[in-house]
Symmetry: none
Subunit: 520 residues, 2 copies
């Protein structure tokens, strides 16, 4: 086939409606870069608040290779002109090549929720689409509640689409806004629309029946050529269609073109990166990208897979950059590892004993909760250690951190005492901080700067904490990710422990050692 299906990601808009999801500006930009990298066609964000506009102002400056930015807003309000509508004006200021305009398809919503007439709603759709089309925008029209609207009043629902088409929209997107549809009805209704409308169609599904991925696929099979969703499926209530699964299903199983074929192997790492930035745990059982997606527990399955992979695997895991997991399964992961370590030692091959050893160590650390996807510097240090090329820069004699409440005579709640030794010379010092990690970080660098003055130029620019097994509550394991910069380069390190301070300590030490190695 090889029909192109446009992939439209709304992680920054619908995804941000997910419970517990909140993005900083830096998070948003990091996600845009990742989505662009893997070849997503459209990236949508809200387009009406000052925060939104600040995001778009910065996002315009990114050198995007694949993605178009799209700002999202409603049709004009009832009874006023588009020019007088503040939200529409803001949307224009986002200065994106594409805008997404959503309007009402369901008569119930028109009459009871926004409380206007069916005729005025048609004008609102027409006027708004026309306004943005005349301003040279590519307009994508999101027909909100289209499926519910169609079931309630089919003729009116179709009329709303025709209003958008007459006004010059370049695409009509059928939305199952309440997420209540089952796959047979999505297939049927999408096919009926495709039969009467020539404008390219898209599909936008929510997951309230657990069918968002399936519904999106049925819509594509019925003629839709754009799929809207969020890369990891998060969104309001039960989430949106999980695009990582939609992409893999359509491209690997049905021959559609969703992303550049050479990007498919980056599906898993992109999913994990976006999860890290969003500070959500990728569920283990997520199709294609989850840690368990190709994990075989039953002995019979493990046996079958080692004889003939397809006997218990629906696709080869490396097609999506994931890996089979069970005893001695590094074969799959080893080429990925080699790709990384060959930068450190070009003489290594897939079969080298060192590669084998690193693969085993990696597996061990992953078992403990480490994840190196967002911690390249720690990975490099681990490789150096395994290759016997690592030299210590200092020895820790001890540290103690104390937190007191009430906090006593200073503004700080915490203090840390540390003693280190470098080449036989000891340095003991102390520092205060906003918390024990802050105090420890300050104390460690204070002590080390005596020996390594270049450390004065580094500072931490990001600090993330992820609880790995939250059901163990306060004795759960935590993974700390730290990003450090010296003004020129930026690098990331990781630490895992049951104790947030110990996990932070490991990541801090890696961050400092990486800088010192870099400077040699």
């Amino acid at each position: 086939m090889n029909h192109k299906i446009q992939i439209f990601d709304s992680t920054l808009r619908d995804g941000a409606q997910g419970e517990g999801i909140q993005f900083s500006l830096a998070d948003k930009l990091a996600i845009v870069r990742a989505l662009d990298g893997i070849g997503i066609d459209y990236i949508e964000a809200g387009g009406t608040t000052s925060k939104d506009l600040e995001f778009f102002a910065q996002a315009q400056n990114l050198p995007l290779k694949n993605s178009k930015l799209a700002a999202f807003g409603a049709t004009r309000r009832a009874g006023i002109s588009v020019a007088d509508d503040a939200s529409c004006a803001a949307l224009l200021k986002a200065e994106t090549p594409a805008v997404v305009i959503f309007g009402k398809s369901w008569d119930l919503h028109v009459e009871k929720i926004i409380q206007t007439t069916l005729t005025e709603n048609l004008s609102m759709i027409f006027d708004t689409v026309e306004f943005f089309a005349k301003h040279g925008k590519e307009v994508i029209y999101d027909a909100e509640h289209f499926f519910d609207g169609c079931k309630a009043n089919r003729d009116y629902a179709l009329e709303t689409l025709k209003a958008a088409i007459a006004a010059g929209t370049s695409r009509i997107v059928l939305c199952d806004t309440n997420g209540g549809c089952l796959p047979d009805e999505v297939a049927k209704i999408a096919a009926e629309v495709a039969a009467v409308i020539d404008t390219p169609l898209g599909i936008h599904c929510h997951n309230d029946t657990g069918c968002a991925v399936a519904n999106s696929i049925m819509a594509v099979l019925s003629g839709c050529t754009q799929v809207q969703g969020t890369f990891l499926g998060f969104g309001e209530r039960c989430g949106n269609a999980n695009l990582s699964a939609v992409i893999a299903n359509l491209q690997l199983k049905r021959g559609y073109l969703c992303i550049p074929p050479e990007q498919m192997k980056n599906l898993t790492s992109t999913a994990r990166f976006i999860a890290d930035v969003s500070n959500v745990s990728l569920t283990n059982d997520m199709p294609y990208a989850g840690k368990s997606a190709f994990a075989h527990k039953a002995g019979m399955h493990a046996d079958g897979v080692s004889k003939i992979p397809e006997s218990f695997e629906h696709i080869a895991p490396d097609k999506v950059g994931n890996a089979r997991r069970f005893l001695m399964s590094e074969v799959a992961g080893r080429s990925a590892i080699l790709e990384k370590i060959s930068k450190i030692d070009g003489s290594l091959t897939k079969e080298s004993a060192e590669t084998q050893k690193i693969a085993e160590r990696l597996k061990e650390l992953e078992q403990e909760g480490y994840q190196f996807e967002a911690a390249d510097a720690s990975f490099e240090l681990m490789v150096l250690k395994e290759l016997g090329r690592y030299e210590k820069f200092f020895d820790l004699d001890y540290f103690t951190t104390i937190v007191e409440e009430p906090s006593g005579i200073t503004e700080y709640s915490s203090s840390a005492v540390i003693k280190i030794t470098v080449d036989g010379r000891a340095e003991i010092t102390a520092a205060e901080g906003d918390g024990p990690v802050h105090a420890l970080d300050k104390a460690l660098r204070k002590a080390l700067e005596v020996f390594y003055p270049s450390l004065k130029n580094i500072h931490l620019c990001d600090y993330k904490v992820r609880v790995l097994d939250p059901q163990n509550a306060t004795s759960a394991k935590v993974r700390v990710l730290i990003e450090t910069t010296d003004g020129k380069d930026t690098w990331s390190t990781v630490g895992v422990s049951k104790d947030v301070i110990d996990a932070s300590w490991k990541a801090l030490v890696d961050a400092i050692e990486y800088k010192l190695i870099k400077d040699i």
Copy 2:
């Protein structure tokens, strides 16, 4: 319609293949009681190990009202008789009314994995089904890899079904064992089988494409009358069909009878109970039963739902025993706030001075980094404080936490000392822990239990840390979310501070005070 669809739960068998899932005997019995209670037709467990037999021996004694127990095993091995097959003998000893026999439908598996002939495989199926049918068992035949087998060698796959039918199976279950199917092909193949076979059909889907629920539904629409899966969807790799979603979809949206109608309202509590017993967190976004399934964050949605529920809800949440939630956030607006606080004081209106005051306080706290959408209990405590109805349960004199590296003589890295006062009586105590928060949590509860013995029954079941302004690195603000349970109820609290220990302390104190208020 009101056609009966049998629901067949494999939580104890396929579910136990999920990564991280492990059941004790007591867990298994508790799950059987819960599944029986809600009206599941069949409950399956493995049937061949001594542990399995011990489970069935005990489960027979449960006064089950709705469920039949089913033991699961393979066809006899190649080249021996059923009577000589130890696994088949064990299966009989399980003494269940029903047995599930799985056999090979895919020629690749027959010839390459179990390495026998296509003819011998047919005999293995026939002999084994016949053996159990003659022993008076209701035999359910699971056609493993049926869909893949059908795609590879349709005639042979159908022959395997006919062997089971000739031997007296009462049902044929079509299994997508590798989970790689998409809904259109499940629909097509199931309909083709239904057209040529009179024996009742079942469907067994895995979720590797993210379509297990949808595939099950398409199979039912094509004529299958039993759905196999696991109540919460967990299982090997990406899991099995989530039965709680399948049941609600079929029964509430299509009029099939899956469970007794009066049980539907227990869907959410049953899901949460099974999650608790299984020691997994029910994901917030799980369809129907998840905490976020009917949670509205966007102001426009909250507004719409309060006017007309179906405007943004695909079903009424109380039909499945779940509840609507308005997530408290700056976007939620005052009507959402009112909805919540009216439970505390019914006399308040949108215009009351108190409502205004609470809205302002909420905004202030959100500015500081608080978020109450996942912290209902802290929100309620905040409201009580603003209404002047809050009373302290204890005073903190001081606490100190110490973390030492190396960790010295105990296995713990951390310790905490705390002194509190209740009604003029002081209590000073200490505890050790895996980190400073763990130590502090233990010490605080140890001190308080002296005065409030009911605190012995609570424990923390979730602990999350979010760094709010990561660019401030180790002195960044953190938000801690804690979930606490007393075995009956579960509540969530929040704390924000630059110090992770202080933030945790705030959330811990709220968690305890909420429990004490609840108990009054």
